[in-house]
Amino acid sequence: MGVLRLHPARVAAFTPKAVNNVWAVFDAQLAVYALALTVIGLLMAFTNSGDTPLALGSLFTRGLLWLALGIIAFTVAAAVDYHWLRTFSWAVYGLNMAILLGTLAIGSGIGGVSRWVSIFGLQFQFSEVAKILMAVVLANWIVSRQARMNTFWTVIGAGVIAAPPLVLVLIQPDLGTSLCIGAIVLGAPFVSGASLRWIITAVVSVLVLLPTIWTHVLKDYQKQRLLSFLDPAADPQGSGYQLLQAQIAVGSGGALGKGLTQGTTGQQYLPVQATDFVFATLGEELGFLGGCVVLLLFGLLIWRVLVIGWRSRDPFGLAFAGGIAAMLLFQLLVNVGMVLGVMPITGIPLPFVTYGGASLVSVALGLGILESIAMRQGRPGT
């Protein structure tokens, strides 16, 4: 791992000239893997758009719009020197809390939940952005703990910082995003070399607290979802029904799939085929081959994220990369695992592939910051 150095950021240190130069070391791999996954996501939006995928307002055309927004978010984040994020770390934290409180206040959702905020007619789930902002804040915390990385307080501090936004997300209620934030909280210190002993201790204590969370925090439908994973037959038309249909869809895809838009199970029997269960449609229509390509692209992308972290001379870069990698890996494992029947149903989107503007733009933002990190390691000080 790189040499750990502490650089308090100064506003005057960065000039436009420096910005121009950094594009020469643009990390193409990161962008290519992400773009490839986004294209597959667009294909899924196309196949789930019904009879008129090219009509204005269809999943596909809206997906194109979100892709454009994602590219802008990525480019802007890459262009800005990530050191600014450290300078304004507490401001970022404040922004994070503000959008989550705002979501609770004015948000709307399905079935008595408030997750969505409507902006100019487009639904936006701000808790997705919160994940990225959490990764920024946590990375900054780890940088500040550089000398005492191995202590108990590094881990506890990460937990304490993460707790307020996590609770706000949990009471939306959005169990999936809460778990993602949990993954970031664990991933960032872990990659940065925090004491494994304390991380494990923290995880175990949370597990001990679980029964209390189960009875006092989780909503009935969330319990139902988790339980139906344990016994799919118990609720054949509820969550278990989706699980069975998802496996039928994937299983009937075979080696090469039924072809784009040719799937029947995913299209007709899965209630949420475009969102959380999109991998079922993908498996049915693109088959084992398509599924493997997606898994491989995710593997390469996450690996690349880690590589950027490892190459970073800045502990912020490593910690941030650790958080983003943990988040991506967690979402991949839980979402695809859920569709394949090996993970509980939690409503966590598959980044890039699941249709959802907030998810795409947020991930693009995170990767943009990573790109900014990657581009600014060769010439410290310039």
Partner: protein
């Protein structure tokens, strides 16, 4: 690097699971996927109602409790206990209940109806015990209630569960497995109108057969149309009262009474006794009860007005007489000698009075119902010409009344006898055919319809039981106008001769005191032998009376005998009585009509002659 290893492991593990699902078990899931299907589901509608010609409601749809079982929801381990408890509550044998549950095997997720018309108390108990009775559901369905019961039993008919073969042939018309369908009466003949159109929803079924969701409504549900019958319940009741009276006095097994409007062909009343109650069927009849009704000696399930054919006896002399007049084989004023009998070889063909009536015209021949007169007339026509005229009057063919199971009767011809018996018609058989005996067989409906044509001036009409089809909002969908079968090729003067002759049946006192009624009636009585001779060589016989009254039925001083009244063709009321196997001193059917006239016109005279209704097997008229 540890994290890197975790990434590799996670991706590999997911890839492995993907391999397992798609490659290793792909065939299994492909099969499951193919079993999921888009299907259509029926949305039942309420059946149309039935009214009489005065707008009286004759049938209603009554909500009743039914018990359904969804086999898939019966837990395997407690199945026996649930069935035993349910059988106890429904007072069924557990084996019968098992049979009912297993009878429909389309999908274990489809509801199976195991009991209908469940008492409210039982339905409540089953509903309360739903936790102990998983898979058992209490629902409400509409059942037909026939307000007038037996009175309109044959006419309305009943609805029942669709039979297997019916279901298979009607499935494409939207019938469903446990559907009801009109089985008899107008419920059957107007099934299409009454039923309406069930809505059809396109639904998705998953691999287990369960309905997942409704995709679209293919057909909007359309409630059934209602019927307005030509029947007048009050006339029907009067007809039944008159018929039942005589049947009770004489002890008759069966009887028919029909009342019609000769101008339109509308049936105002049609009684066939004994009858049955449609409500016994609409609630689901037990096999035992059904067999009892089916095998009862009097065969109450048959509507003898149309479902059976009988020898018409002397009423048929209308065909012989009018045909001979029209064919110029007989002149209205031509006198024929009527002796006690006519011989053909060794055979003697007797007149009913064993004496003859001397030299008489058709007016007296018809009035006294002289057999020897009509033997001669039939001989002049010949069997085939006789059959020709019979067919013109509508015999030997269906009248086309909108009720199920009508029979066509038998009119013998040379060809017919060659075909069925391999012999030609013998001269004696021509005589028999001329007086409505021998092979002649008609339905009561054919007979009254022929006399309708006589009354209205020669127009044979199709008898009608339904007047209008009404939409649920009350607007008229179909208005049944009089339907002309044919115009008889008989001159008005010849028809007038036969009407005057028919009036002479009463005026000549052949029907005793019937002529003393203040109502002008023209008609013909008949006595028709059938079956086997008794030990004294006598045959049992049916009696008939068929006739009509002019538009103004009352006697007037200017026309005391009603000759002018019956020369007109404006009759608006015709009637027929048929007393099966009556064997009475007098003509039982005539007494029935006499009583009907008294009741119908609210007469203050009672001319019924009870002494004529003694059974003594006297070969009368």
């Amino acid at each position: 690097m540890v994290f890197g290893a975790i990434v590799v492991i996670v991706v590999a593990a997911l890839g492995l699971r993907l391999f397992q699902l798609q490659i290793a078990m792909g065939g299994h899931y492909t099969e499951l996927a193919q079993q999921q299907s888009v299907d259509s589901l029926a949305v039942p509608v309420s059946r149309g109602l039935i009214y009489d010609r005065k707008g009286r409601q004759l049938v209603e749809n009554v909500p009743v409790f039914v018990v359904n079982v969804r086999p898939a929801d019966l837990p395997f381990d407690t199945r026996d206990a649930v069935v035993a408890r349910l059988a106890h509550l429904l007072k069924m044998a557990p084996a019968d209940l098992y049979g009912a549950i297993d009878a429909h095997a389309d999908s274990r997720f489809d509801l199976v109806k195991v009991a209908t018309d469940v008492p409210t108390a039982t339905a409540q108990i089953i509903a309360e015990e739903h936790l102990q009775l998983p898979g058992v559901y209490v629902d409400v369905e509409a059942r037909r209630h026939y307000i007038y019961g037996e009175l309109l039993g044959h006419i309305l008919g009943w609805t029942g569960s669709i039979s297997g073969p019916d279901y298979l042939s009607l499935k494409s018309d939207g019938y469903v497995l446990d559907d009801t369908i009109g089985k008899t009466g107008v419920e059957a003949t107007f099934e299409k109108q009454l039923r309406g159109t069930y809505g059809v929803q396109q639904v998705q079924r998953d691999a287990t057969g369960r309905v997942v969701r409704v995709l679209s409504t293919l057909t909007e549900p359309q409630p059934g149309d209602s019927l307005q019958l030509t029947i007048d319940v009050n006339v029907q009741r009067t007809a039944q009262q008159a018929l039942q009276w005589a049947m009770n006095v004489v002890g008759l097994l069966r009887g028919v009474f029909i009342v019609m409007n000769p101008q339109t062909g509308e049936i105002l009343a049609m009684v066939s006794l004994p009858n049955y109650n449609d409500n016994d069927f609409s609630g689901g009849i037990s096999t035992k009860e059904y067999k009892q009704l089916l095998n009862a000696k009097a065969r109450p399930l048959l509507n003898f007005a149309i479902n059976e054919q009988f020898p018409p006896g002397s009423t048929y002399k209308l065909v012989t007489g009018a045909g001979a007049l029209q064919d110029n084989k007989l002149q209205p004023n031509e006198r024929l000698h009527t002796a006690a009998y006519i011989s053909i070889g060794a055979y003697k063909y007797w007149d009913w009075n064993k004496a003859g009536f001397g030299n008489i015209t058709i007016f007296d021949g018809f009035a006294h119902s002289s057999d020897t007169f009509f033997y001669q007339v039939a001989g002049r026509l010949g069997i085939d010409r006789l059959a020709y005229w019979a067919h013109q009057w509508g015999f030997g063919q269906l009248t086309g009344v909108d009720l199920p199971g009508e029979v066509s009767g038998t009119i013998p011809t040379n060809a017919w006898k060659e075909q069925t018996l391999g012999q030609p018609i013998y001269p004696g058989e021509v005589y028999q055919a001329g007086i409505g005996q021998g092979y002649d067989e008609v339905t009561p409906m054919q007979l009254i319809d022929a006399y309708n044509a006589l009354a209205n001036g020669g127009t044979l009409l199709r008898p009608q039981i339904v007047r209008r089809v009404l939409a649920p909002d009350g607007s008229v969908v179909q208005d049944f106008k009089p339907q002309v079968v044919r115009q008889l090729p008989i001159s008005q003067s010849n028809l007038s001769v036969m009407r005057v002759a028919a009036r002479n049946v009463l005026v000549s006192r052949h029907t005793y005191n019937f002529v003393d009624e203040p109502i002008v009636v023209a008609g013909k009585s008949g006595t028709a032998e059938f079956g086997l001779r008794d030990s004294q060589g006598r045959l049992p016989f049916h009696s008939w009376f068929v006739g009509f009254t002019p538009k103004d039925p009352w006697k007037h001083a200017t026309d005391p005998n009603g000759w002018n009244a019956v020369k007109r063709t404006d009759a608006q009321l015709s009637f027929l009585a048929f007393a099966f196997d009556s064997n009475t001193t007098g003509n039982a059917a005539t007494e029935i009509v006499k009583y009907f006239i008294q009741l119908y016109y609210h007469l203050h005279v009672d001319l019924r002659e009870r002494y004529l209704l003694v059974q003594n097997n006297f070969y009368g008229n």
